[in-house]
């Protein structure tokens, strides 16, 4: 059961990480980066660390990502091709091969598991799930307010 949870969160995290470079608007790239932070926080839950997951959510998403979004909210669409996709893909394949080769053949199965009692999935289902819902709602509110502000500015500019 935990394997498919891990696979889903890992896929979403990697998809969000790659979309930081493929999206043309900096604002959208910032939101994609915040999604990477969110899925990384969920991965902490899968690893059985609910406190670290909540800290990551509050500090990184609630603080850093929100500040980034507000700071780049007035960014226009990029006027030049900011990522060379072919170079990005080539470098990604190269570094994936090199970094994975470094752990190839290493036997990790003999290491003892940490004795932390609260497993991630149960903790999430009990009380941390509510904190995540609140965090996602607040995050959505902050992004929605920026979108609305931009729309009102456009309407005002048309009215003048």
């Amino acid at each position: 059961m935990y394997l498919w949870v891990f696979a889903l969160v890992a896929f979403l995290e990697l998809a969000a990480a790659v979309s930081v470079y493929l999206l043309k608007s900096v604002m959208h790239a910032t939101i994609a980066l915040a999604m990477v932070f969110l899925f990384n926080s969920l991965m902490f839950l899968v690893l059985g660390q609910p406190l670290l997951a909540v800290l990551q959510a509050f500090v990184v998403i609630g603080g850093i990502a929100t500040y980034l979004i507000v700071g780049t909210a007035t960014a226009q669409k990029v006027g030049f091709k900011h990522v060379r996709v072919s170079v990005f893909v080539a470098m990604l394949l190269l570094f994936t091969a090199v970094l994975n080769y470094s752990i190839y053949g290493t036997n990790f199965s003999s290491l003892p598991k940490n004795g932390f009692s609260a497993t991630g999935i149960e903790a999430m289902l009990s009380s941390i799930g509510l904190l995540y819902i609140i965090m996602l709602m607040l995050f959505g509110v902050s992004i929605g307010s920026i979108v609305l502000f931009k729309r009102f500015k456009k309407i005002e500019a048309r009215g003048e």
């Binding site: 990480a17 790239a29 910032t30 980066l33 690893l47 780049t72 030049f80 290491l111």
Partner: protein
Amino acid sequence: MSMLLFLILSLEVFAVGLSGLIASRHFLIMIFSIELMLVSSTLVATTFYYYGVNSNIGIFLFAVWAVMASEVIAVVAVYRYLQRADTGMDVKKLSDMKW
């Protein structure tokens, strides 16, 4: 669940950040790449903690988060300045320093 899966995931995220840093020309996107690499390091630390390799990662995690926060504050300030100066975000043009 094998420790290898988590390590591979964190290495993949690190590889995405590193390749994006090399391939990108936008100032902010390069900073985001550094953030991705820092986030992957926190995942590696937590994996090692969970599998009993390292028993004390709290200080490391707080240091990484502090670095991420202070870096973002400085970057947003520089970004707003560059926007007002109308310099553009292309690092090729930013690298031509002029007095």
